[in-house]
Amino acid sequence: MSMKIERLVKMANDISAFFDADPDKTIAAEGVKNHISRSWELRMRQAIIDHLKNHDGEGLSPLAKTAVSQIIV
């Protein structure tokens, strides 16, 4: 899916901003990963994973990067 990656990056960062409140960053990353896995359409998940792989997740917050790296499609 060629959905604009900037939008997906923003969505991932917004999700991360919520879960980032948890002082335990392992739990926070798990929260982000689960949220994306359970609510994003397959092509969107694949696109953000590809963005992390191919562009080092440019624009993603540190927590979002950690979470995206754990997503399995």
């Binding site: 899916m1 060629s2 959905m3 604009k4 939008r7 969505m11 917004d14 999700i15 901003a17 919520f18 980032d20 409140a21 948890d22 949220h35 359970r38 609510s39 994003w40 359409e41 397959l42 092509r43 969107m44």
Partner: protein, 948 residues
């Protein structure tokens, strides 16, 4: 079928549990203490004559027609104002009583036009009935002065006021006060000069009257009468159904002549509305037979082409072939659809079933995406179920009511009236809203605190309230320990106790004085029963879900859950938005809010539906638009929604719709979305089909057919035809069969059936088994999460990225108005335009003065994504720096300005926060000019439909 007139017991029922025994005319009767003699008599079938009494309002004792004799008592007391007592012996009829009543009637009739045969109330006039009941045979008085020449007031488009027929019983005045709570009517003058007067001798239209119809309903004569009855005569049968407007879901008697609706009368037995109504449900039903209705299926290849009227078979075959073609060309996931919150549960269920089983993907979404999707997410996470916790009647037990981002008197007027009734009884009120909504100060109601926060700072405010509760020892520790996950609470307690969440630290962010936040928090936390009601002012933010979670945290921390008078209550926007969500309209959830990947649920649905189902979440509405612009989402089946008007950043939406190869719109009108469509399937209004709606209190209510569908089919039948043409068979013969399937698949609906709905009138889910009568209040023993415990979650405030700056220095926020409903497709086609014929921009005097703007000026409103032009209204209801408008008229282009900023969890748009600049202009915007040209062109193409 018959009229089945509702019995009038004369006075309201007593809520007392203590019972009293008495005798009336020698018959023994047992009634609750506090019951009037009149009601006690009516309960055993003895109808004491009456005029000023009716059971929707408190007794008044003025007409003297209902006098009775009480053994051992003095005189002839009015039975309406005389409560029963143990051992009472009452006589309702003897010679003396008959003479008194006849004398009273004689006086009334001496100043009443004797035009019964041509009177609009003929056949439905209590005065006429009472004259008969008391045996009036002559009128000896012929007064020199009468009111027979009093001038009729026809200013209101829906009802007329004929004072020549008024008996000054004050029922209308009392209904306006007690039932509606507007206090628009009064008795002006004294003695002979006494007359019913709207406001200060104004006509009805110019007065404070909100046209709820309570006065018309209460009037015993033809004084206040529906114009429809005046024009068409009395109805001859009635069918009980449910209103198709807001999430209150009022029960109505559709009073009919053949297939013509004469009037919609609020049903006294309706458990959501108790015989009350608003201007929309009561009067604004004319859209259903409006000339704009499209009743023939139409197709076209391109949106530049003229429409072509075709047979149902041709339209359905074409639509199915297009969807199959697109899937063959672009892949299985290149199509999807939208269910409608204006359609029934059964219809929403069928549309999502067609998409999941027929299209083979989960690309289904619904309008809750743009309103209460954060409610679904937030309450599911914290409480375990995506719904409000209470029934509406719970508010009558509340001691402190916290209203956040909701405007009940405009958006949910019938519940607003019930809330005002409780407030007049003495409950405290806290309003959290950037704007001064009516509830802040209305007759006999004054908010204790109006926390006038800056738009987008909800979470900072809710955190501040929670901080006060935690730091001042106001937590209900017993509730938290017994009912919630203690580890999550402890983590939350540490988080929220941090000084950065204190009122003093957040004052700068919210703009609300810290002292007010502290006082409001204490008031809510120390209430015996504290209840929270909220609306789209909570959800339509980038932190909408966070705020819902914050509200849930607050209620759990204070133990305000699980009983009457408390709770977390989302005021749902559309009539069936709760129902459409329940029915599996979200792309990640099957019916009953169960995730598409949940193995047990997935297997159950695959087996029942006999189709291979995807375990992957589908596209949300905004994702569909993005995908369309990428040429990967090319076909949409849109039932009963108008995304081309309602969704944010409309220019983007329109571009996406233009990019699609097949847009199928099923609607009653050529709405905005239909202008981009290739197939038009005519829909049926709520009056033309059977089904159910589920309101904001989870109440499943019947929708019953009052007339045949104008286009020949109910919407569920159209979906079924489309599904069959797609190759996925559906063979339902009645919506009750669809409900039976729903009940077999959704545990919370397991005990729901049409037979039970007919028996009980309505059912609040969860309704787990055949014996259950539903659940008015949820989470009474434990929460519906797997472990039964409530979950506290951390709610850090994150400032919106939609920020003001020098170029866009004002915040635009949007809302609704009483007279109109959402995109206005229905109400704009009624006389409601009399009250509100265009969307206007409210701007504070300071901001207006800075820009040289006066009332009525054309002003341009420009955001980062677009510009539109509206008339200005200079008003102190908005605070400096904030402007406000409604979004009921497509030509206003409110969503030309709103951006794609959205809630982090659900992508619910941030409608409530758009940075804008406002300037005085002299002409409409470029977008508006383009819109007008496009619309004219589309209407031309429609006009050619029958000629092609």
């Amino acid at each position: 079928m018959s009229m089945n007139k509702e019995k009038d017991f004369g006075t309201p029922a007593s809520a007392a549990t203590e019972m009293v025994n008495l005798e009336i005319d020698g018959f023994k009767v047992t009634v609750p203490a506090g019951t009037s003699v009149m009601r006690a008599a009516a309960s055993i079938g003895i109808d004491i004559p009456k005029l000023c009494a009716t059971d929707s309002i408190e007794p008044f004792g003025s007409c003297r027609l209902c006098v009775v004799q009480i053994e051992g008592g003095r005189g002839l007391p009015a039975s309406c104002t005389t409560p029963v007592f143990e051992g009472m012996k009452a006589v309702t009829q003897n010679k003396q009583l008959a003479e008194v009543r006849r004398g009273v009637m004689e006086l009334y009739i001496s100043d009443h036009p004797l035009d019964c045969l041509t009177c609009s109330a003929n056949g439905d006039c209590e005065l006429q009935d009472m004259a008969g009941a008391v045996g009036l045979r002559e009128v000896r008085y012929h007064p020199i002065e009468t009111h027979l020449d009093a001038k009729k007031d026809t200013s209101n488009p829906y009802f007329s006021f004929d004072p020549s027929k008024c008996i000054v019983c004050s029922r209308c005045v009392r209904a306006c006060e007690e039932t509606q709570g507007t206090f628009a009517l009064t008795i002006d003058g004294r003695g002979f000069d006494s007359k019913v007067s709207p406001g200060q001798n104004e006509d009805f239209l110019s007065s404070e009257c909100v046209s709820c119809g309570a006065c018309v309903q209460a009037c015993p004569t033809a004084t206040l009468m529906e114009n429809n009855v005046i024009e068409n005569g009395q109805p001859e049968h009635a069918i009980v159904t449910t209103c198709a407007y807001c999430g209150v879901g009022c029960s109505f008697r559709a009073e009919m002549k053949g297939e013509q609706v004469i009037r919609m009368v609020p049903n006294k037995d309706g458990k959501a509305n108790h015989g009350h109504s608003c201007v929309k449900g009561r009067f604004a039903f004319g859209y259903a037979t409006h000339k704009d209705r499209i009743t023939k299926p139409m197709i076209r290849t391109s949106i530049q082409d003229a429409w072509k009227e075709v047979s149902w078979e041709e339209a359905i075959t074409y639509a199915a072939s297009e969807m199959k073609r697109i899937q063959a060309k672009y892949g299985k996931d290149s199509v999807g659809g939208l269910t409608s919150s204006r359609c029934t549960n059964e219809e929403a269920y069928l549309v999502q079933k067609l998409i999941r089983a027929g299209f083979g993907n989960n690309n289904v979404d619904t309008c809750a995406r743009v309103c209460h999707s954060p409610t679904g997410y937030g309450l599911k996470q914290t409480f375990g179920e995506s719904s409000g916790t209470q029934d509406f009647d719970s508010v009558m037990k509340s001691d402190v009511i916290l209203v956040i981002g909701a405007n009940p008197t405009d958006g949910h007027p019938v519940f607003g009236s019930q809330m005002k009734k409780r407030l007049r009884q003495g409950a405290n009120l806290i309003v959290v809203d950037p704007r001064e909504i009516d509830l802040v100060k209305t007759p006999h109601v004054q908010a204790d605190y109006h926390l006038k926060l800056r738009p987008s700072t909800n979470v900072a405010l809710i955190n501040a309230l929670a901080h006060v509760i935690v730091s001042e020892g106001l937590v209900d520790e017993d509730f938290v320990n017994a009912r919630c996950e203690v580890a999550s609470f402890n983590k939350w307690r540490t988080f929220i106790a941090d000084e950065r969440h204190s009122p003093e630290a957040t004052e700068e962010i919210t703009g609300v004085p810290a002292a007010d936040m502290r006082a409001a928090a204490r008031l809510y936390a120390t209430a015996k029963n504290g209840a929270i009601y909220y609306g789209l002012g909570v959800t339509e933010h980038s932190q909408g879900s966070t705020m819902v979670i914050g509200i849930a945290n607050l209620a759990m921390a204070t133990g305000n859950l699980g009983r009457d008078g408390v709770g977390v209550n989302p005021l749902r926007g559309q009539n069936n938005v709760q129902g459409s969500c329940d029915m599996g309209s979200f792309p990640h959830e099957l019916p009953g809010y169960r995730h598409v990947s949940d193995p047990e649920t997935h297997d159950l649905f695959e087996k029942t539906w006999g189709a291979k189902l995807s375990i992957n979440p589908g596209l949300r509405i905004p994702n569909m638009f993005d995908a369309a612009l990428d040429n990967t989402f090319m076909g949409l089946y849109c039932e009963g929604e108008d995304i081309a008007q309602s969704d944010p950043d409309i220019t983007h939406v329109h571009a996406a719709l233009r990019a699609m190869e097949c847009v199928i719109v099923q609607d009653i009108f050529l709405n905005e979305t239909a202008k981009f469509a290739h197939v038009f399937l005519p829909g049926a209004s709520f009056l033309e089909k059977d089904g159910t709606f589920t309101n904001a209190e989870r109440r499943i209510s019947p929708v019953r057919k009052t007339m045949r569908p104008l286009a020949g089919y109910a919407d569920w039948e159209v979906t079924q035809m489309l599904s069959n043409a797609l190759g996925y068979p559906m063979n339902y013969s009645h919506p009750s069969e669809i409900m039976a399937e729903i009940a077999s698949l959704m545990p919370t609906f397991a005990g729901v059936s049409y037979a039970k709905i007919d028996e009980l009138g309505s059912i609040q889910w969860p309704c787990y088994d055949e014996a259950s009568t539903g659940t008015p209040i949820m989470h009474t023993e434990e929460f519906l999460r797997d472990n039964g415990k409530g979950l506290f979650m951390l709610t850090e405030f994150v400032a919106t990225q939609e920020r003001v700056n020098g170029k866009f220095p004002l915040i635009l926020t949007t809302g609704r108005i009483l007279a109109h409903y959402n995109v206005g497709a229905q109400t704009r086609r009624t006389e409601n335009n009399v009250w509100h014929s265009e969307d206007i921009l409210e701007i504070h005097p300071h901001d207006a003065e800075d820009r040289g703007i006066n009332d009525g000026d054309w002003v341009g409103i420009k955001s980062r994504v677009g510009e539109t032009v509206l008339h200005a209204l200079v008003s102190e209801r908005v605070q400096p720096g904030v402007v406000y408008t409604t979004f009921h008229f497509p030509e206003s282009g409110a969503n030309v300005i709103t951006t794609d900023s959205s809630d982090w969890a659900t992508n619910c748009p941030e409608y409530k926060v758009t940075a804008v600049q406002v300037t005085k202009v002299t002409q409409s915007s470029e977008w508006q000019q383009g819109y007008r040209a496009f619309t004219e062109n589309q209407l031309d193409l429609l006009a050619q439909a029958s000629n092609v």
